[in-house]
């Protein structure tokens, strides 16, 4: 009897603990969402206000500022930054996916010492801090007159997304059994046909996971937009800190921009969570 009670208590403690952990991990995001609906007076107050009168003033201001110059002399074309983020991410992951699948398939199907060295080189470009590439890119962009253009930002973003795609897709192709392709050769398929009709369709879940992950990585990237753009090609992550003024900080608008910046990735994570998790755990669990 006492044993049963103890087990029951243990179970309840577990449930409470699980929910507390989840709350702790979500609290900063929820707090930002709440702050984006607060007036300035409700944000800078001690103790912080959990309950408050919500207002959409911050969101209104962001879009209003994007339309015209304000009395602070600050323009903030958020819709353009949003568009820039989308254009750069989509083009960079598209090119990386096309090239990455080809390289990954070849690396997965043929092994040699030289190919292993190529693998290590790809791994080292994944591992190197992106700022290491950003400084030469900054200089090159300035001498070529490409500073603050889509071209240089997309090229720089491919240095992140291409090695990542190759590396992810290779482990997905490693999982596609070779026997299926060999069966296709016997039936008279060329190797290109075998790739297009068998391996590629079988790796579809892998492609989905790779697409999602590389979109998140490129969308979230700060280093390249920060170093390679000033305004025209600026992306949303580089714009978030724009509200950190010398004289005052626009807390509410910063929170609102943050919310807008993370909506795409959060929505993708919630819709395609399964695919995302499979991509994230793939390398580690099977290796």
């Amino acid at each position: 009897m006492g044993n049963k009670l103890a087990r029951r208590v243990k179970y309840i403690v577990r449930v409470i603990l699980a929910y507390v952990v989840a709350l702790l991990f979500l609290a900063p995001i929820l707090w930002m969402v709440a702050s984006s609906f607060k007036k300035r007076i409700d944000i800078i107050v001690s103790p912080p206000k959990i309950f408050f009168n919500p207002t959409i003033l911050n969101y209104h201001n962001i879009f209003h500022w994007s339309a015209q110059e304000t009395k602070w002399g600050l323009t903030y074309p958020i819709l353009r930054y949003y568009g820039n983020s989308l254009i750069v991410s989509i083009i960079a992951i598209g090119i990386a996916l096309l090239l990455g699948i080809m390289a990954a398939y070849s690396l997965s199907r043929f092994k040699s010492k030289k190919r292993e060295q190529i693998g290590i080189w790809i791994l080292s470009t994944i591992m190197a801090p992106p700022i290491v590439f950003a400084i030469p890119y900054f200089m090159i962009a300035r001498t070529l007159g490409l500073f603050d253009s889509y071209t240089i930002l997309i090229i720089a973003s491919i240095t992140i997304s291409l090695p990542f795609t190759i590396w992810m897709m290779k482990s997905f192709f490693d999982d596609v059994p070779k026997e299926l392709e060999e069966a296709a050769y016997i039936d008279g398929c060329s190797s290109l046909q075998a790739f297009l009709r068998i391996s590629l369709p079988l790796a579809k879940p892998g492609i989905a996971a790779t697409l999602i992950l590389s979109f998140i990585i490129v969308w979230n990237d700060l280093v390249f937009p920060l170093t390679l753009t000033a305004d025209r090609a600026k992306t949303l992550p580089a714009a978030v800190q724009g509200f950190l003024g010398w004289t005052q900080t626009f807390y509410g608008m910063m929170a609102a921009t943050g919310v807008l910046a993370i909506i795409p990735v959060i929505v993708i994570a919630l819709i395609a969570g399964k695919s995302l998790i499979s991509g994230l755990t793939l390398g580690a669990v099977k290796g």
């Binding site: 900063p28 912080p48 591992m127 979230n220 978030v240 969570g273 580690a284 669990v285």
Partner: protein, 297 residues
Amino acid sequence: MRRSKTLEKDRRVIEIYFLIPPIIILACITIYPFIYAVVMSFKNLIFGKYVFVGLANYRHLIVGGRFAHSLYITMVFTSIAVVVEVILGMLIALLYSEELPGISILRMLLILPMVTTPIVVAMVFRQFIYPPDFGLLNYFFDLIRLPMLKLKWHCSIRTALISLVLVDVWQMTPFPFLVFLAGLKTLPKEPYEAASIDGASPRRKFFYITLPLLRRVIMVVIVFRIIGCFKAFDIFYGITGGGPGLATENLSVYIYLQTFKYNRIGMASTASIVTMFITFFLIFVIYKGILGWRGKS
């Protein structure tokens, strides 16, 4: 015979032509900047012109001490963050591996910190969580009656680095958690049943069955997190920008500040090259370590 020859030729399409274009493009966009940085590391801006100065930048990098300090900060940050994240991730994975009401939704929600834009996270912590006077964290410690934990967080030299570690732990612990959760699901049941018959306590089961079985997974997670922490820039730049003083100036922030604050491209390039070689060294250690370890088991 002839058929196999055409097949051989046919296979080379995949072997060679699939690999060459991506590799050439990757080489252009990664090796060219690298070479550019190597050239710039031998030059300095003197009276508006880049002049060849030999190894002066390298000498300055080593003698100056600021680069070494940033390397030290990177190492401290990485070691604390990785240990905390792996242990915490394992604990949460154990907690979440059991069937509790609504657990699948909770598992899903725990991914969110990881996908949130790091610079947004940095701004949230800097402006809403850490401020000593109206921040959420100090209010939280007030609520649970732990006033001695009411610190100045990112504003003080003594706690700035720990504050950044805390942000990284908040954001990246979901990664070890997810991987360990997936790893726990793949474990065989038999050893546990056998251990139960022998009357082993849950703790002993964890240390003598679960940990050894997950050893490989844990290794891989540690490697991934070392890479992630080594590259960290966004939260450093966003929350403290390297300050106060030099308390949180890691490698990436050092390179960034050399370029955009002090306008010393030569020094920044030199630091980039050295960082690149540190990366190669790390890769070598990790690669050899994991390979050697794989060979043994």
